[in-house]
């Protein structure tokens, strides 16, 4: 396996062109000279109306590398991804080339795919009503020789093979809409991976790892490592800086629609360096925070014998002022608790003691849960959190009026404006445009509105599921601060999540689930490492991708 494009330039000059080189295992470690890039973007300008959102953006993705693309929400990252996938037409003068051959603009997905570019979108791009198998093979189905019938057993084999490579089991016949977020992401990733032929091609991942649990994530990067070692390239657009630090070979950083770092080597960089580049300054350390103040003589919120979905007989207590985390492996049931407690999914049994009253959980409906003072911030702001084409103000104040007894009397506009202004201010939602439809906001700002929507309802028990999923560091900081503030103001908070960094920032106490019940409780100083250790009691938190040099150092560089 010899790829001359990976040979250091010095060497190539010394040897002359066309020389066959001995096989080298150090290819990846060597200082690379610019070869013909797999993907080259040059002088990319992009405007909406008369407003430039991308200015002179350039990216080179080399063969056989993982290239990270980071930037805050609103930095132009998603816009760039949409240009690359042909959703947006860039301004004239932009050049996009794959393997040296220029693409027609706007990018036509079919042409891009023929040239070996596969994309996994943030929204995953799955058909909810179709089965996993159909989703996997759509566009690749082949008819049999005479009757042009689809040979399902062959398709099934192809799909099974990809899942085996991924090391995940997903039922092929299940409609994708019935799967959990993590499995949905797996299907989308598998669909892109199946086309990756050794040595060619480029896969663009646009925030597609956001719902993967730790184990799947490690496994995912293991496979990515294998794929790029054959010469396939990966462009990784992500919010999880850890992924870039651990796995990327080089990184490009966007800020305010401009490239501030182009193809910087990742060797020796850590998350703080990246954050500084993204923000243009250092972020104040959030990890040092005071312990929760639990008001004296307050009665804790108690859950007893909760059973339903993947949980059985779970009991827990959380005091006003405290943030209780729930975590575990995918499928362990921790992420079912929020939906059971808020009446969104029907529970089989269980009681909830809140403000001195005992409520039967199976009798809860979303409406009665709200009346009892429970608020749920669900995962998936696009499908369960916000109505995307309605305005910021309408979304933020929606729970205030849904149960109004005076449903035919006018809504109090002044009060509504006051609430919206207050929460826009408190959560620093930008831009401050109450009437703009929520679709036009960046992901981080949407998530702030989703949180504000429920905080404005002044709950006594706030239940959240993945509250900082797919938001940038700045927005995460604001969200965490707002949730802690709600707790400090006397709200009992339960957070179900799989992101150990988020949990470490948020929680005072952590319950680790296994097979539907609580297996362990963590108190005191929670660090991402201790959390991961507790979730995977038999494992450790390994680097997302093995070291890129030959020296085997199983050491963590961060956290």
């Amino acid at each position: 396996m010899v790829r001359t494009d990976h040979v250091p330039q010095r060497l190539r000059i010394a040897l002359g062109s066309g020389v066959i080189l001995p096989e080298s295992t150090e290819v990846r470690a060597a200082t690379l000279a610019p070869p013909v890039p797999r993907l080259a973007v040059e002088s990319l300008y992009m405007s909406f109306a008369n407003n430039r959102v991308l200015r002179d953006v350039a990216i080179d993705v080399w063969p056989g590398e993982i290239h990270g693309l980071v930037g805050q929400n609103g930095s132009g990252k998603s816009t760039l991804a949409k240009v690359l996938t042909g959703l947006y037409t860039p301004d004239a003068g932009t050049r996009i080339a794959v393997d040296g051959g220029e693409l027609q603009l706007p990018v036509r997905p079919q042409e891009a795919r023929d040239r070996g570019v596969a994309v996994v979108h943030q929204s995953l791009g799955l058909f909810d009503h179709q089965s996993v198998l159909e989703n996997m093979r759509v566009g690749r189905l082949r008819g049999s020789r005479f009757l042009r019938r689809i040979d399902w057993s062959r398709e099934r084999e192809a799909a099974t093979a990809v899942f085996e490579r991924l090391g995940r089991h997903v039922p092929l016949n299940a409609p994708v809409g019935t799967l959990r977020e993590e499995d949905r992401a797996t299907v989308a990733i598998a669909r892109a991976l199946q086309d990756a032929h050794a040595g060619t091609g480029l896969i663009i991942f646009d925030e597609s790892t956001r719902s993967l649990g730790r184990r799947s994530l490690e496994h995912f990067f293991e496979i990515l490592g294998e794929i790029v070692s054959t010469g396939t390239s990966v462009l990784l657009i992500t919010h999880r800086l850890e992924e870039v630090v651990d796995a990327a070979d080089r990184v490009t950083v966007l800020r305010d629609g401009r490239v501030v770092e182009s193809g910087r080597e990742m060797a020796g960089m850590n998350e703080a360096d990246l954050t500084a580049m993204m923000l243009g300054r250092n972020l104040i350390d959030l990890e040092h925070r005071g312990a929760a103040t639990i008001p004296a003589n307050s009665t804790p919120v108690g859950v007893a014998g909760l059973t339903g979905l993947g949980v059985s007989e779970v009991s827990l207590e959380v005091s006003p002022g405290e943030v209780l985390g729930l975590t575990g492996l995918a499928g362990s049931g921790y992420d079912d608790v929020p939906y059971l407690l808020s009446g969104v999914t029907h529970a089989d049994a269980g009681t909830l003691t809140l403000l001195g009253a005992t409520i039967s959980v199976p009798a809860l409906s979303p409406a009665s849960a709200m009346e009892a003072g429970i608020a749920l911030v669900p995962e998936g702001r696009e499908h369960a959190g916000l109505a995307m084409s309605l305005s910021l103000a309408e979304n933020a104040t929606f729970p205030q009026t849904t149960r109004s007894a005076r449903s035919l009397f006018p809504i109090d506009r002044k009060r509504e404006r006051r609430i919206v202004s207050e929460w826009i201010e408190r959560l620093d939602v930008r831009p401050r445009e109450r009437k703009a439809s929520i679709r036009t906001f960046s992901g981080g700002n949407q998530q702030k509105v989703l949180l504000a929507k429920w905080l404005a309802n002044a709950p006594s028990l706030l239940v959240l599921h993945e509250p900082t999923q797919a938001v940038d560091v700045g927005a995460r900081h604001t969200l965490v601060a707002a949730i802690r503030k709600a707790a400090a103001d006397g709200c009992a908070v339960i957070v179900a999540g799989s992101d150990e960094n988020e949990l470490a920032l948020l929680c005072d106490r952590l319950l680790v689930f296994e097979e539907g019940s609580v297996r362990a409780e963590l108190r005191g100083d929670l660090s991402p490492d201790t959390i991961v250790e507790a979730i995977y009691s038999n494992g450790s938190r390994s680097r997302l991708r093995g070291p890129r040099s030959e020296v085997h150092t199983e050491k963590k560089e961060n956290n």
């Binding site: 959102v53 805050q72 409906s365 309605l390 309408e394 849904t402 449903s407 620093d428 831009p431 400090a488």
Partner: protein, 345 residues
């Protein structure tokens, strides 16, 4: 502890979170305000141009009180039917194809019960409206409770009801409602029949509910995203079911007024309303609130269409022109509105 929190709160405001977004929006706003204005009022502008054009071409017939009365006094059926369609479309039930037949059912029942079976005309009217409400309830139960596809249910129901009305009327137009009953629709108020004003009040009331009340906001949210609405405590099933029932009620009332206005009803006529209703409702999404179904836009659309058809007829076109106009305008207007909306985004 409060100090810590405050300190944290203070750092928040220094944080940089998407200021690019902020400047973007400002730029967008200054560049897009004309586009937004154009998207909202383009159709109204075309309406005015159309009136000027017909006025220049046919000053003797088009610019008369008679033409004005024809345009504003003849569209009540369309107004009621579009209101009925809006009920279900706004809560996210795509196209109720049975509204026109349900309207016809009510119109034929009130006539047949009065003329053939000698019921009291008021009792007949109430019975006809109840029948239409029941039809709406059956649609709602099938679609909402049992989850059957809306188009299939309402297409089937529409065809079924059409057959029933033809059977009830023995395939013939029926007439003979008492003249005093006609007054509920035709009473002259300032030169226009009272039913015109009832239609306007209906649409204004509908617009009020949608814009200002919690009920209206719940309807918008359910239409936009059922899961978000359910999680916020809206009784989604009840609201959707209610929308079908109210749609039946409005169609039924519209049918009674239509029968009253003409003293009877021709069962074959109801189907001819179907396309104009859709044309008006969808054209309404291009007026005032681009991209959203809205009652006032729909009301304007009804009279826009009536103006165009009458003007063309005065120019010598015969009855084929209404189909050409309704169909053509629908496609063109919605296309323009979509393009303007996309540009102003």
């Amino acid at each position: 502890m409060t100090d810590t929190v405050n300190a944290r709160g203070a750092t928040d405001s220094d944080l940089y979170t998407g200021a690019v977004g902020a400047t973007d929006a400002v730029a967008k706003r200054s560049g897009g305000s004309f586009g937004r204005f154009a998207a909202r009022f383009a159709v109204i502008g075309v309406w005015l141009l159309m009136i000027i054009l017909f006025g220049l071409l046919e000053p003797s017939t088009f610019l008369t009180v008679g033409a004005f009365r024809t345009i504003f006094g003849s569209q009540q059926a369309l107004v009621f039917l579009s209101a009925a369609l809006l009920c279900t479309v706004i809560v996210g039930e795509f196209v109720d194809l049975s509204v026109a037949s349900n309207f016809g059912l009510s119109a034929i029942l009130v006539t047949v019960l009065t003329v053939t079976y000698h019921w009291n005309v008021w009792a007949a009217a109430i019975a006809a409206i109840i029948a239409s409400v029941l039809v709406g309830a059956v649609n709602g139960l099938l679609v909402v409770k049992l989850g059957v596809n809306t188009i299939v249910v309402t297409l089937g129901m529409g065809t079924f009801l059409l057959g029933i009305t033809l059977f009830v009327s023995n395939l013939m137009p029926v007439s003979g409602l008492p003249p005093y009953f006609a007054q509920i629709a035709l009473l002259n108020v300032g030169g226009l029949p009272i039913s015109f004003f009832l239609g306007v009040v209906l649409m204004l009331g509908f617009a009020y509910i949608l814009t200002f009340t919690p009920l209206g906001r719940n309807m918008r949210f359910v239409g936009e995203n059922r899961e978000v609405s359910r999680l916020a405590g809206v009784r989604v099933t009840r609201l959707r079911l209610g929308a079908f029932i109210v749609a039946g009620l409005i169609a039924g009332i519209g049918g009674v007024f239509a029968a009253a206005a003409t003293g009877g009803f021709d069962p074959a006529v109801s189907q001819s309303y179907l396309l104009p209703v859709f044309a008006a409702t969808f054209l309404g999404t291009a007026i005032l609130e681009p991209g959203r179904f809205n009652p006032l836009g729909t009301l304007i659309a009804v009279y826009f269409l009536a103006t165009g058809v009458l003007g063309l007829q005065l120019l010598g076109a015969t009855s084929w022109v209404s189909s050409v106009f309704y169909g053509g305008v629908l496609v063109i207007a919605v296309t323009i509105s979509t393009v303007l909306h996309a540009k102003s985004r």
